[in-house]
């Protein structure tokens, strides 16, 4: 992939919103997957595991992608 993947961002505001969107997406996507697994298995706690996994993944991804 080319160097400098992100366009020049003088105020940093776009990156801030991108981070927030990634966090929200991580929590909602893996929370949703956990909820579907809950429906499938009939359990109650997989939702919470999904949310935590999603949060951890998105936090790690934010540091990798934006923290260089």
């Amino acid at each position: 992939m080319t160097e400098g993947r992100q366009p020049p961002d003088p105020s940093g505001a776009a990156q801030g919103w991108a981070v927030l969107g990634t966090l929200l997406a991580g929590i909602c996507v893996w929370g949703g997957v956990g909820w579907l697994v809950d429906l499938w298995l009939g359990t109650e706690f997989v939702k919470a595991i999904g949310v935590i996994v999603g949060a951890m993944t998105s936090i790690w991804y934010v540091t990798v992608r934006y923290g260089k």
Partner: protein
């Protein structure tokens, strides 16, 4: 108690106390209703305010470029400065050289949102049409379609979606976890937050202003010791009006900058 016809909220007749504005504030009585091709339309106060705002922007820019002169007169200078602000400050700054292609669209979006937002504090209008979710949702839908279309056209369908789904710098096994997040983030949450950010700011600002204005009138009319707090409510209404002006301009700017950023992200692999 009778509030002026300008403030759209109405107290139900059996409630003598302070009735705070509800969501019904944003659904005034329609002035005309009709059905076209099976879709119901209602022309309300808010629709007319939106038309007036759009007309104002159109008239301003058309007047600015009609019979242009080398040494500009006032309106032309103002129109050029307004367009240059978006073209240089947003399009060129965020997207680069390619941005000039999109500067007209970005300027149109920016000034459309500014005009509609400003109606939130203009007397006799005092509601921003962008405080109804429909307007920000459509603008955000345009942004979504635009940046996807531009990305697909400049990079090809497969490369573009692979670029979204498989971002660089992630070790291979983590792609299982990261790819759904990235797809959801780019295709769902960015347009969604774009619309909701504008909508929520305008919605909340309008409700705040209505509460302080109605509060002032109520405190003045209730007739007991509470009248001492009426100046507080009045001052807060004035302060919030200025703050609302700042928020309106800022939200229009943020919307346009983020649209430009998503466009730049869709274009950048192409060169």
């Amino acid at each position: 108690m009778s509030t002026s016809i300008v403030l759209a909220s109405e107290c139900p007749p059996d409630d003598p106390g302070f009735c705070s504005p509800t969501v019904l504030e944003f659904f005034p009585k329609p002035l005309a209703e009709f059905t076209l091709f099976g879709v119901e339309f209602a022309i309300t106060r808010i629709t007319i305010i939106s038309w007036i705002a759009t007309l104002a922007v159109l008239v301003f820019f058309v007047t600015a470029v009609r019979r242009p002169q080398l040494v500009p007169d006032k309106v032309q200078w103002f129109g050029e400065a307004a367009y240059t602000f978006v073209r240089d400050g947003i399009a060129r700054e965020v997207i680069g050289r390619e941005g000039l292609r999109f500067a007209p669209y970005l300027a149109a979006v920016f000034y459309f949102i500014v005009a509609n937002n400003i109606m939130g504090i203009v007397p006799f209008a005092q509601i921003a049409p962008t405080a109804a979710i429909a307007l920000p949702a459509i603008l955000s839908a345009f942004t979504f379609l635009l940046f996807n279309w531009v990305g697909i056209r400049s990079q090809g369908l497969v490369t573009y979606f692979k670029g979204i789904a498989f971002p660089p710098g992630v070790p291979a096994p983590m792609y299982i976890l990261v790819t759904p997040i990235e797809i959801a983030s780019t295709l769902v949450f960015r347009p969604l937050t774009l619309a909701i950010r504008l909508f929520a700011n305008m919605f909340a600002g309008h409700l705040l202003l209505v509460i302080f204005a109605l509060g002032t009138v109520y405190l003045l009319q209730v007739g007991n010791f509470s009248v001492v707090f009426a100046p507080v409510a009045f001052v807060m209404a004035i302060v919030m009006t200025f703050f609302e002006l700042l928020v309106e301009l800022l939200q229009a700017y943020v919307f346009t900058v983020l649209t430009a950023t998503y466009l730049a992200g869709a274009l950048e692999e192409a060169h």
